[in-house]
Symmetry: C2
Subunit: 85 residues, 2 copies
């Protein structure tokens, strides 16, 4: 069965986010003065072949721990959804 894993990786709170600050300043310059804070992150969609949703989810979390996220400064949320074929 196929599953689509969706992973969002963000910086842990307290970690300096210069890219977010730059985007906030750019938005202010463009006139979006209501913007108060911008956080940046990464997004991945991973197609996985697995027996069931539980296994897909557990393998996806392993991938995040081992490769996708840096556990020192980043946190992630991951969800594996069945794909209708």
């Amino acid at each position: 069965m196929k599953f689509l894993g969706k992973v969002i990786i963000t910086l842990k709170s307290g970690v300096f986010d210069p890219q977010g600050l730059t985007i906030k300043n750019a938005l202010h310059t463009l006139g979006y003065r209501e913007t108060q804070d911008v956080k940046t992150g990464k997004y991945f969609e991973i197609m996985i072949e697995a027996e069931n949703q539980e296994k897909a989810q557990s393998r996806l979390s392993e991938m995040c721990d081992q490769l996708l996220a840096n556990p020192v400064i980043e946190q992630y949320t991951s969800v594996a959804e069945p794909v209708k074929s």
Copy 2:
């Protein structure tokens, strides 16, 4: 009222994604051979001050069009959620 805008930006289908290919290869090397396809994208969380959800959502979409996404090669989904203070 405060709203948290969540934006996911991905490459349009057909646009070459070398980063995704590299991650797929790395996952295979690490033993995650069930991985079939990896798409990469960007994620932003933007705190916005707005009168109501509709206005927050519309301003957020404008920000995506003007600054965050490149409409030639990227597509985005954005959602503005009220923040309980």
